[in-house]
């Protein structure tokens, strides 16, 4: 089964389970992969129908399935190049003597992969993104780009990579006009312009907001607009600085899912690097996490020295109404090695032989009122423990 067929089948499954919102978004991703304007047109009219008939779920599913059938007939050429498009080798960026220095950092960025860039504030996330986006000069090392589209100048290169800063720039006029301007700048013929723009508006849930202006949109929709604008430009590399800032939890999840699926396009994948403080959300969608500590890259794997010292510990984050002494007492039976309380949550370090379900079992046995718990053994969250 081809990748495209598998995705279409997955969408059918969503509709089978009445996950119409998610299903419809995935349907649009499949439609975008076809690059077929007729399919786009039908998705646009279906979106319009959907907005006019918000309660007719059965009708939507039926129409969607019909459209999926048409999509299945379109052949899609999958993208196969697995070579890195960006190769950074021992990059160092210094802001001056005795001032912050980033690196040396070496990293390979491939298309279709999501890279999460995490680290505490002031550790060089934005600097690294800006260096990779050719916005900032670096002092030493090499930075090579090998995009599929050949570029003959720095300017052309920068049209192929897109860096979206944390604070996006204000734009003027209607949302739709701004998107149209993108495509006309890329010399897309007028008849295609409207269709592609509406397709992207539909994909990012901006259908009812397409005539609004910048100051009429919430932060979440502004970010969706930025993504729609970015996707119209079909970049090969996308660098996002804190895209989740100022977004509610639901918007964060939607944006991350959107980014993940866009990045994994069958025929037009994108290499995506995003920085965020939302560790778990980022880790969930990332293929690789880049943790920066004092401007240096820290591998998510524990160092041999650390492993020799403590072994592969089980690290659990717990938020509960329980005194420290009592927790130590009840965990002592399951080989607790260290318990840290940072004022909000406990971080418990267990011997590597202790499984996570034993911790949960203990908490249940002693009827501890747990608000929240998470296994952070493999999460970069464990680096944020003071």
């Amino acid at each position: 089964m081809s990748k495209a067929s598998a995705r279409i089948k997955e969408v059918h499954t969503f509709f089978d389970n009445k996950d119409t919102v998610l299903g419809f978004r995935k349907l649009m991703d499949c439609a975008i992969d076809t690059q077929d304007l007729e399919i786009y047109r039908q998705v646009i009219s279906l979106t319009d129908w959907k907005e006019n008939n918000p309660h007719d779920e059965a009708g939507l599913i039926e129409r969607s399935r019909h459209l999926l059938g048409k999509m299945a007939a379109v052949s899609i050429t999958a993208y196969h190049n697995t070579n890195p498009i960006v190769r950074a080798n021992h990059i160092v960026k210094s802001y001056g003597k005795n001032r912050f220095t980033l690196g040396p950092i070496s990293v390979d960025i491939k298309k279709g992969q999501v890279y999460g860039l995490v680290g505490e504030n002031g550790n060089g996330k934005t600097t690294l993104l800006r260096v990779l986006a050719k916005e900032l000069k670096y002092n030493s090392g090499t930075l090579d780009f090998s995009f599929d589209t050949e570029t003959n100048s720095n300017y052309d290169l920068r049209t192929r990579l897109i860096y979206i800063p944390q604070r996006t720039l204000r734009w003027y006029g209607s949302l739709k006009d701004n998107l149209k301007y993108v495509l006309s700048s890329y010399r897309i013929p007028p008849e295609e312009n409207e269709i592609r723009v509406l397709m992207m508006i539909a994909r990012f849930g901006l259908w009812n907001y397409r005539h609004l202006k910048w100051d009429e949109l919430s932060s979440g929709y502004k970010m969706r607009f930025e993504l729609a604008r970015t996707m119209l430009r079909q970049p090969e590399l996308l660098l996002l600085d804190e895209p989740l800032a100022n977004l509610d939890i639901l918007s964060q999840q939607v944006i991350l899912e959107d980014l993940k699926s866009i990045c994994n396009s069958i025929n037009n994948p994108i290499a995506l690097i995003l920085s965020s403080q939302q560790l778990y959300e980022v880790e969930k969608v990332s293929d690789k996490v880049i943790y920066l500590e004092n401007g240096k890259y820290r591998d998510n794997e524990d160092s041999p020295e650390q492993l020799a010292k403590t072994g592969k510990q089980l690290i659990i984050e717990i938020d509960c109404n329980c005194e420290r002494g009592r927790l130590i007492e009840l965990f002592s039976e399951i080989k607790l090695e260290k318990l840290i309380f940072n004022g909000g949550v406990y971080i418990a370090f267990f011997n590597e032989t202790t499984p996570y379900h034993r911790v949960l079992s203990k908490l249940g046995d002693y009827q501890v009122d747990v608000t929240y718990t998470r296994n952070i053994t493999h999460s970069s969250r464990r680096f944020f423990v003071s």
């Binding site: 960026k93 300017y155 003027y172």
Partner: protein, 585 residues
């Protein structure tokens, strides 16, 4: 309307993003409307014929305050345009942009600024249209002819009728009349009238061929000169001639009148002739004056009252047609003319209506001795009749000037260059941003101050301000300009982005001035060499003796530089793109 705007915007947005983004279509549309308004304004602003009584109606745009109105509208239009234009910047967002696209943007700026600042032309064309529609050539020509024929009888000023004006019959047409005090040879025949003596001389001529590069004498002492295409003829006084036998009277008489009231060929300034000019103090013997004096002479010789009255009647009709104030009738006027059977001047006509100020007895203030004899005589023979002939002359002058003046000459260069530099400024702002542009402006100011102070210091140390200082300033500026131009060309990737941005901005705005400076330096050298080698005869222009670049190019300099400027801006778009793609830091 809203629908039309939306549809047009969508059409432009999808097909011509640069035109949509620069708003050139809408600005030109609005400009067209305002140009039409200014055209209509010009059309109606001179609908009252009395407007033509003043001089230089063609400058009405500047004189009646329309210029301020125009400037305010231009500023408003440009500000509103910039606000709309700055809303989108594809270049800043790194959308694909070709050199051609960037240049097209610049060209749109140029067109927009030019269209928004040139309402003057529409106004003047409104004025021209009015004149073309209301003053037919043949009719005006006939009026001028009437005025020229009857002007002899205006009798405003005694000086127009004294013997020095006479140019007919022979040999008076070839003689020179000396009337400067102290220049009269009292041992030879001369004519005395009131305060002035008149002595007539025959003339000899020396001719200077302008093709001769070197000449060995200076032609001093001539009384006047005539400039031909390749030569200058210098006239010198020869021998005194007793003209009494040829004159009707030695007193002011209508017979002596030789002035042409209005020259159709040279409507604005009769002495600003292209092919011949006179450095003369009283010589009126050009062909026109001779012909005029002859026709006056013959008219008075015929002494036909009907003919003269008909002429006066025609003139008064013309005056009435153009609403020229006067209180003359044919009969009253003829009576003044015919007071003396030999047509000597017995009465004068005022150039304006008598008012209270004319009643003031100036002799009371200054004493009778302060007045010259001719002033006293003037007071005695001036009548209350008046005709504002100067206004009639102005009417003709205005009509001819408006019809013949090329309004684009001169001013077009001003508007072109204003548009060019403002367009450069907008381009710089769009390409490099406000911060870099501000630094560029400050940098330019500092450079200007530095060059000025260094030049002053050099002049102070050299204790002179001759050509050496001028060469120093020119070469010093050239050296600094060369350094500035070199930075974006060769060091754009080696220096900080903000620094190269400043140099890039100054280069874009100043590169044409740099070319101009080179032309000026070449010209300075040529001019200096020319001055060293040659004797420049008075009245000659330098380029007639040697090749001087800027004099040779003349008004084409501006157009040539403008074209070069456009080409250079196109070439600089590559550098702008290169600069934009650079990382900071």
């Amino acid at each position: 309307m809203k629908k039309f705007i939306k549809r047009t915007n969508t059409y432009l947005l999808e097909r011509y993003p640069i035109i949509w983004n620069t708003r050139v279509f809408w600005v030109l549309l609005v400009s067209l409307g305002i140009h039409v308004l200014f055209y209509l304004f010009g059309l109606v602003s001179i609908s009252n014929i009395e407007t033509f009584h003043r001089r230089s109606v063609i400058d009405l745009f500047f004189d009646n305050g329309t210029v301020f109105f125009g400037v305010i509208i231009s500023i408003l239009m440009l500000v509103i345009w910039l606000i709309f234009h700055f809303k989108h910047n594809a270049f800043k967002s790194f959308y694909p942009s070709s050199r051609r696209g960037l240049f097209l943007q610049f060209f749109c700026y140029l067109v927009i600024i030019f269209a928004s600042t040139t309402f003057y032309y529409s106004y003047i064309y409104g004025v021209k249209t009015y004149v073309y529609l209301n003053f037919e050539n043949e009719e005006v020509h006939s009026h001028v002819k009437t005025a020229n024929n009857a002007a002899v009888f205006f009798s405003h000023h005694l000086t127009n009728y004294t013997v020095d004006n006479v140019a007919y019959p022979e040999p008076l047409d070839e003689l020179y009349c000396e009337d400067m005090a102290g220049m009269i040879d009292i041992d030879e025949p001369y004519i005395e009238y009131l305060d002035t003596d008149y002595q007539f001389y025959s003339l000899t001529i020396k001719e200077l061929n302008l093709k001769d590069k070197y000449v060995d004498s200076i032609y001093n002492g001539y009384v006047f000169m005539e400039r031909e295409e390749n030569s200058i003829r210098y006239f010198y006084k020869d021998t005194v001639v007793d003209v009494t036998p040829y004159l009707k009277s030695t007193k002011p008489t209508y017979f002596n009148f030789s002035e042409t009231f209005f020259h159709e060929k040279y409507p604005v300034d009769v002495y600003n002739l292209n092919d011949t000019y006179y450095l003369d103090y009283g010589y009126t013997h050009d062909d026109l004056a001779k012909a005029r004096n002859r026709s006056v002479y013959e008219l008075l010789e015929r002494n036909d009252p009907h003919e003269i009255k008909a002429l006066l009647g025609e003139l008064l009709e013309v005056a009435n047609h153009y609403k020229i104030p006067h209180n003359l009738t044919v009969e009253s006027w003829y009576r003044l003319i015919s007071e003396d059977p030999n047509f000597e001047i017995r009465s004068l006509i005022r150039t304006y209506e008598k008012d209270d100020e004319d009643e003031i007895d100036y002799s009371y203030y200054y004493g009778e001795d302060e007045q010259t004899k001719i002033e006293k005589l003037y007071e005695e023979i001036i009548t209350d009749y008046y005709i504002e002939s100067r206004e009639l002359h102005n009417v003709f002058e205005n009509i001819y000037e408006i019809k013949t003046e090329n309004v684009f000459e001169g001013s077009i260069h001003f508007y072109l260059w204003i548009s060019f530099f403002l367009a450069c400024l907008v381009l710089c702002f769009r390409a490099t941003g406000l911060r870099v542009l501000l630094f560029s402006i400050i940098g330019t100011g500092l450079l200007f101050t530095f060059i000025s102070l260094t030049s002053v210091l050099f002049a102070f140390l050299a204790d002179t301000f001759d050509s050496a200082v001028q060469f120093f300033i020119a070469y010093f500026t050239l050296a600094i300009g060369t350094v500035i131009l070199m930075v974006p060309l060769f060091f754009i990737e080696k220096l900080k982005k903000i620094v190269t941005g400043v140099f890039l901005n100054i280069s874009i705005i100043g590169v044409v001035l740099y070319i101009m400076l080179i032309l000026v330096i070449i010209t300075m050298h040529q001019s200096e060499a020319c001055n060293d080698d040659l004797l420049i005869a008075s009245g000659g222009a330098q380029q007639e003796y040697c090749f001087v670049l800027l004099e040779y190019l003349g008004e084409y300099t501006s157009i040539i530089l403008f074209d070069i400027g456009l080409v250079l801006i196109y070439l600089y778009t590559g550098l702008i793109k290169k600069w934009k793609g650079l990382p900071e830091g």
